[in-house]
């Protein structure tokens, strides 16, 4: 590839290796990339594609066992192999970064004002006092309300979106040439996501910097980037103008990625299908701010008077942003936390049921969680994990029969039955989610609450898990409550949608109606943010 005259960052033959106890892992295998002045380049790929490690390698931020080689020239200056002192003149000043995790990327122990001032003081000299004026300008610029008051806030006092704005303020402090944004909005709600991306766009226009956007989200790429580089297993498989890539993808992998956007829809169950789970006036309250000797005690209503009716074979999608109460509602319906309201399961009134009276019903009411890493015990084998429920619900079962059922359950979710003797850490995220589903399915439930089951997975894996869930529903006549912030997945999975905000239902209805003709402004914002960025 010839170096174009606009190229301000030219990457040639860049490799990143990690030495691990199992041998060397080649995370990036000699890639070429150019970042041109003022453009937006998206580097797209799924987890493990090396898209982040490429940038970390250039910036000298690899973990200790990582080594980078090859060449990355910023305006002619070689960055690879530069001593830390010299590299420090470039990073934070000419090339800056923002990261995925706005919760942890800022130091919790210092005020945001001080943290924004740090790169100014270190790169331009002067004192923290002198930098304060510039910090206030920057906070204003990134849209933090009341900068004069907020400057002394600590990161934990800000929301996720505000923290990401603080990171952007830090990144802009020294008017960089290149801003590397590593999954900058992945951890944020869709409406916040749209705001942050718009902010980045407007700032780019104003300061003329190049943005390198590292993301797995093709929706963002389409609306945000001018050029795209698609990475897979440490290599760039395709590179070109965004419109080109989206309209005429050449590489098979790119085609696969584009096709992996969730598709399909679900037909509603027949009208005579019986109601299987019902909650009326569901309310969950938490007491906040209580002290040993009195002190004001307030009540926070996580779920505030929600009615929900799930029919046999139905999938109700519950969408909402973080803090909307959607997960809490799911747990309340399963009677897993103290709540008010009346509940029916089939024809049984379970409103007054406690732990022990609920226990026999538990096998029919199962739950699958978001985090495929945290929800499986690392110390049990897969076989032990999925058969654990049988000890409670069918204590008389013999070892051979349990084993037989474990094999059947694993086969059903598309895993090799031999894997029952292995441990969760040996599996990928998608496989672990299959294990979690097998754990629920082995009990032959009638209702499964799926709490963000696909949110931690790559798009292509997401599609497979959705397929699996659909199959199982068809085969066993299951009823799902599908909780997610991801509207495209909800659209593909559910026949009825509930939109929640602040513990209340804002709008509900058949999936097509909600997505095509939303009535409430909030629903419109949500859908607009999710599909148009």
């Amino acid at each position: 590839m010839a170096e174009t005259k606009d190229s301000i960052l030219a990457v040639r033959g860049l490799t990143v290796d990690f030495s691990t106890p199992d041998g060397t892992v080649e995370a990036v295998k000699g890639i070429d990339l150019d970042v041109n002045a003022g453009e937006t380049l998206a580097v797209v790929g799924e987890s493990g594609s090396g898209k982040s490690q490429t940038m970390m390698g250039i910036m000298g931020l690899l973990a200790k066992n990582g080594t980078v080689s090859g060449s990355a020239r910023y305006r002619g200056q070689e960055l690879i192999g530069l001593p830390p002192k010299a590299l420090n003149d470039v990073r934070g000043s000419k090339i800056t970064m923002i990261f995925q995790e706005p919760m942890t990327s800022l130091d919790p122990l210092y005020t945001i004002g001080r943290q924004i001032a740090e790169p100014i003081v270190h790169h331009r000299g002067g004192t923290f006092k002198e930098a304060k004026k510039r910090v206030l300008e920057l906070l204003e610029l990134v849209g933090i309300p009341e900068p004069a008051r907020r400057i002394d806030s600590y990161p934990h006092e800000l929301s996720g979106g505000q923290r990401q704005r603080v990171m952007i303020a830090m990144a802009l402090a020294n008017e960089p040439d290149i801003l590397i944004a590593d999954e900058p909005t992945t951890a944020l709600d869709v409406t916040i996501q749209a705001q942050i991306l718009q902010l980045l766009k407007s700032l780019q226009k104003r300061f003329g910097m190049a943005i390198v956007l590292i993301t797995h989200d093709l929706g963002i790429v389409k609306h945000f980037a001018e050029r795209v580089a698609v990475m897979r297993r440490g290599e760039v498989v395709e590179e070109g103008r965004t419109t080109e890539i989206f309209e005429r993808p050449k590489a098979d992998y790119t085609k696969m990625l584009l096709a992996a956007e969730p598709s399909g829809s679900k037909a509603p169950p027949p009208g005579h299908a019986p109601i299987i789970l019902e909650g009326r006036d569901v309310a969950v309250e938490y007491a906040i701010g209580k002290g040993l000797f009195g002190g004001s005690s307030a009540v926070f209503r996580a779920v505030d008077g929600v009615n929900l009716r799930l029919r046999q074979g139905q999938t109700i999608g519950i969408v909402g942003e973080s803090g909307s109460g959607k997960s809490t509602l799911g747990r309340a319906l399963l009677r897993l936390l103290p709540s008010n309201g009346s509940y029916r399961f089939g024809t049984t009134d379970i409103s007054g049921f406690d732990r022990s009276t609920m226990r026999p019903l538990r096998r029919e009411l199962q739950l699958v969680f978001q985090d495929p890493y945290g929800s499986l015990s690392p110390r049990l084998t897969v076989g032990e994990i999925i058969t654990e429920g049988l000890y409670v619900h069918e204590p008389g079962l013999g070892r051979a029969e349990r084993d037989r059922r474990a094999i059947a359950a694993l086969k059903e979710v598309g895993l090799d039955p031999a894997s029952r003797n292995r441990y969760p850490h040996e599996f990928s995220g998608g496989q672990r989610q299959r294990i979690a589903i097998a754990r629920a399915m082995i009990l032959k439930p009638r209702v499964v609450i799926l709490d963000e089951p696909t949110s931690a997975l790559d798009r292509s894996v997401q599609g497979q898990v959705i397929e699996l869930l659909r199959d199982l529903q068809g085969k066993h006549g299951l009823s799902y409550i599908f909780i997610s912030h991801d509207l495209s997945v909800v659209k593909a999975m559910s026949d009825y949608v509930i939109v929640m905000k602040n513990g209340r239902i804002i709008e509900e209805g058949e999936t097509d109606a909600i997505f095509e003709t939303p009535r409430e402004p909030y629903t419109k914002t949500l859908i607009g943010a999710a599909f148009n960025v």
Binding site: N88, G92, F99, S105, P108, L109, Y110, H122, M167, L292
Partner: protein, 307 residues
Amino acid sequence: MISFVLRRLASAVPTLFIVVTISFFLMRFAPGGPFNLERPLPPSTMENLMRTYHLDQPLWRQYLIYLSNAVTGDFGPSYIYHDNNVAQLIGKGLPYSMELGFYALILAVVGGVIAGTIAALRQNSFLDFAVMSISTVGVTVPNFVVGPVLTLIFAIMLSWLPAGGWGDGSFRFLILPMIALALPQLAVFARLTRGSMIEALHTDHIRTAKAYGLPSRVVVVTHAMRGAMLPVVSYLAPCAAALLTGSAVVETIFTIPGVGRYFVLGAINRDYTLVMGTVVLIAIFVIVFNLLVDILYGLLDPRVRHD
């Protein structure tokens, strides 16, 4: 902040009460008594003694007597050291123990934190290995071995330092007992610091600090170390309480007239009041230092600030 301190001090009262109650009865359930000597006392003398010290009363009454006296600050007479009551004994010995403990604490914290930080920054290097090996030795070798070995080398063989005693109270006399007292704690601080430093160096905000080109001194000291100190500070409270209230072993080996010996001697001799006095003393130290550490914690970490 003030209300936080007051609330904590108020909650100390029930804690102390429970400590006193439990140790009072535990002590009494131990077989034997303060006057069961090798050669039995004549019955009349024994009877007199029992009466003088209320030991002839039912246990619950003895408990109430002790409690009501303790509230007024009277911790009773010592059964063994007849010339002094418990408050006087502690009052006399405590300054020695506290002075020694204070130096030992400084040595343990400063030495441990520096060693631990160096080990963390040079993780898996020879230096790291050396620091960790020495700290393992520090934890595992008991101070009744360390003390005599130090004496043997520095007092007897090299004659650099006095072998024991308080002397004129000059620092020379404190060096060997201070090292013997500090070594196990220094080892703990080194291990704690190393662990939390390694963790802190891997956090996302350290990556941010590096990505913004901050000098490594700022990255390590300003950002990593402040966060890494939090678990270290937590350990400060029990450690300070233990060191400042003296160590029976170290004080005996180096013949320091502190309070450390009283707990052991009192327990062996069934000197009920003396044991109770030292238990209350240690409990008060633990409570006070926990409070101080919580305040310090709030200063270090805005997320747990008490306002």
